[in-house]
Amino acid sequence: MKNFIGVHKTEEEQEDQIKNWWKENGIQIIGGVVIGIAGIWGWDYYQNHTYAQSIEARDLYLDFSVNNNSSTLQNLSENFSDSSYQDEARLLLAKNQIKNFDESRNTLLSVSNSSNKYLANLAKIRLAKLYINNDNLSEAETILNNLNDESYKGLKFYMQAQISEKKNDLSSAKNLYEESLKNLSEESGLKNLIRLKVADLN
């Protein structure tokens, strides 16, 4: 700035200086402003577009949660494949398929690879539930070994305890329930239930 306007020059000199400067840099400045505005515009457009897409996906998810319509789900998977609502809808589907082990497992397996790793984790826990119920204990162990995010440790131990219980290894079940108690969230209601379990396994 100091060199841009020479404070000690006369007004005409300054005027000339600025006119020259504008000649040299005017186009760049106008160009810059135009590019800037276009950028903001483009960003706005992109955001609006993303929002509209998300709303559409949400609508389809809500529709699916009421009607369980397979064409709705297909629409979601084909046109909104990177939306989390596609995974959420599959989680609903897996619940509806609970009477059919194979179907429900396959649905959950597809979610367990989701790019939304939180939903993938949820799918893994639910897969473990299915496997334990169906006596596929080694599959249950494998899927739980793939659940590695620190914060889910409490739930992981809880599921592993159930595997031990099914194997009738009650002392290991008790240990795992106790580990689970140590790792569950402070406010978790699940703790009440597990405390009963631990007392019962004495």
């Binding site: 700035m1 800037g36 949660s65 619940k95 739930l155 978790s188 239930l193």
Partner: protein, 611 residues
């Protein structure tokens, strides 16, 4: 330097050029709503998002006010700090959830937002959602409709993380059976209480035992420091008593406070809202033919809020209705029907039914009330001035001088310790503060709430000291006696446990000690009629096989307990709503774990010292 040179030359081309450049920046920022100004100091950062002090205070202040009202004098800095922590944690959580929603494309549809607002009973009038009521309540709480709906959008979107998990949660047969049989389990057992005090006759206590205990536990026998204080109290009630306003004072106040004693004009009208002027004219001609306004409203009006009640809008004052409507109504005579009035909603045909004139209570009617208002106003002003005076006097001179100059009574308190219940907690804190306790100064005026101020100084101090043996001998004797009795009770408990598989020997030893089993028939773990310690031990005991399951506790204080579980049964009968219970537990835990994981991954900084 630059600025001053711009000033000097602000007439020339240079000035225009610079102003032009500056203007361009403003235009661009205004057009695109870019916010270059922050809103105050940053108190926390969640990823890129900064939480400002202003935002924090918006959440904190209402909760603080609430808590202060609930706790009164109990409210302390410690509690305030906990509240600050809670509020900032909530805000961080909410921001974390919002960012998660944004990154993964979670949204809430406008219809969901609407439905959610429409079922909030706060906005109901006559058992139905009411738009005017809605707008009124938002206004009272300082929200615009857009702001409120945006906040609802955000809240609902954040709640989806949890609600979506819950929607897809399921319970397997194995889990259901496992938990059901656990909750349905019943046990049949006997329990034995071994009271510690039963053994107090059998212990012999010597003076050396007492002395020994006293020497080892000296820190338990300390008399706390106690002080008494001299104090003067200034309170509003006393101050106001001395204020007696003249009629002139009251007349001025009456003029100032007129709207307190007046009601504004209100008018009661009916209307028929239609879409175009042709229909409106048609309705008017039907009215002129003598058709009833009510019936026409039911038939023609498109205002769903009023058509069923014959277009009745009840009484309303200025500032409630749209301007065109209001202007018309407040220009009409009672009983008159208007020409079609155009507003943003369509065309109104209005009938004015009643005018409730504005009214004003007379001076004499409200004189007593005026005296009170006057006293309170003046009193608060005086308290304000007096508290200044009090501060100065407390700082400059002795408490006696202060009492004399301000015509207040010098009082003296009883002795109290730091943990005493009276006097007020704030007075106790001041009495034990460094200037008062150690330097013998007057305290600053202490605001006790309810316009009460107190200045105090130390009167008497009783130092804390170790109590000597003779002062506490009886107390020590009690403690040692209980300890020795407990040893005997424990010894007997151990003896019984070693014999427990031999019923005959157990019975003998119980008889000798005058103890008896109490039997409990089949009971579940939620049975409230049985001693909770016994239930707890019974359901902790190993399951009975060929032998009964035994458990014991020596940590129950006044007694030891042994439980003998004889039998156990369970059933698959449904035990309440196990599915819902399990779904809720699993959903909550998964939700909390996810929140924890998100927080672990995010870059969160909280600047506690700025809260």
């Amino acid at each position: 330097m630059l600025i001053s040179s711009i000033k000097k030359k602000s007439t020339g081309f240079v000035a225009y050029f610079i102003v032009g450049l500056i203007a361009l920046t403003f235009i661009v920022t205004a057009l695109y709503g870019i916010d270059f100004m922050g809103s105050g100091q940053t108190v926390a950062k969640v990823g890129d998002k900064e939480i400002s002090k202003t935002e924090f205070l918006k959440n904190f202040v209402p909760q603080q006010r609430n808590l202060q009202q609930q706790l009164g004098a109990e409210y302390s800095t410690d509690i305030e700090n906990i509240l600050k922590q809670t509020v900032i944690d909530q805000m961080v959580n909410s921001q974390i959830l919002f960012q998660y929603a944004q990154n993964h494309g979670y949204v809430t549809t406008p219809k969901e937002v609407q439905t959610n607002i429409a079922k909030n009973e706060v906005f109901y009038r006559d058992g139905k959602f009411d738009v005017d009521q809605y707008k009124k309540i938002l206004r009272l709480n300082g929200y615009s409709v857009q702001e409120y709906e945006a906040s609802q959008f955000q809240q609902l979107t954040q709640e989806q993380l949890r609600s979506n998990i819950e929607k897809s949660a399921f319970v397997t047969d194995f889990e259901r059976k496992n938990v059901t049989s656990l909750l349905n389990q019943e046990r049949k057992f006997d329990y034995l209480e071994i009271p510690v005090k039963d053994f107090s006759d059998q212990v012999s206590i010597t003076d050396s035992m007492l002395k020994d205990y006293f020497d080892k536990n000296q820190d338990r026998f300390i008399k706390p420091m106690k002080v008494s204080v001299d104090f003067v109290e200034l309170n509003l009630d006393e101050v106001t008593k001395s204020i007696s306003p003249s009629d002139d004072d009251l007349a001025i106040l009456y003029d100032e406070e007129k709207n307190r004693f007046s009601t504004d004009e209100e008018r009661k009208a009916q209307h028929i809202l239609v879409e175009n002027k042709v229909t409106a004219d048609q309705v008017i001609s039907l009215i002129n033919e003598g058709k009833s306004f009510e019936d026409l409203a039911k038939e023609y009006s498109i205002d769903t809020g009023s058509k069923d009640s014959g277009g009745d809008l009840g009484f309303f004052g200025i500032g409630v209705m749209v301007p065109e409507f209001e202007t018309a109504v407040f220009a009409m005579k009672e009983g008159e029907v208007s020409a079609p009035i155009k507003s943003e909603f369509g065309f109104h045909v209005i009938k004015l039914n009643k005018i409730k004139e504005s009214s004003l209570k007379s001076f004499d009617e409200v004189k007593e009330q005026l005296v009170k208002i006057y006293q309170k106003n003046q009193g608060q002003k005086m308290i304000y001035d007096l508290s200044d005076e009090m501060t100065n006097l407390a700082y400059e001179g002795s408490l006696e001088e202060l009492a004399e100059k301000m015509n207040l009574k010098l009082q003296t308190s009883e002795l109290f310790s730091k943990t005493s219940k009276s006097p007020n907690k704030k007075m106790i804190n001041a009495a034990f503060s460094d200037p008062v306790l150690n330097r013998g100064e007057n305290s600053e005026p202490i605001d006790l709430g309810d316009d009460k101020l107190v200045v105090l100084r130390l009167n008497n101090l009783e130092k804390s000291r170790n109590l000597n043996f003779d002062e506490v001998k009886i107390q020590v004797e009690g403690i040692v006696k209980t300890q020795e009795s407990k040893k005997l009770a424990d010894k007997l408990t151990d003896e019984i446990i070693t014999l427990i598989s031999d019923n005959q020997k157990t019975d003998e030893i119980l008889k000798k000690n005058n103890l008896k089993w109490t039997s409990v028939e089949w009971t579940k773990r939620d049975n409230q009629k049985v001693d909770p310690s016994a239930i707890d031990l019974a359901f902790k005991a190993p399951k009975p096989n060929s032998k009964p399951g035994i458990s014991l506790s020596k940590n129950l204080g006044s007694k030891n307990m042994i439980v003998r579980v004889n039998a156990l049964k369970t059933s698959d009968e449904s035990a309440g709503n196990v599915d819902r219970l399990l779904n809720t537990y699993e959903t909550d835990e998964f939700y909390l774990a996810t929140l924890k994981e998100l927080k672990k991954e995010a870059n969160i900084e909280i600047y506690r010292d700025r809260l």
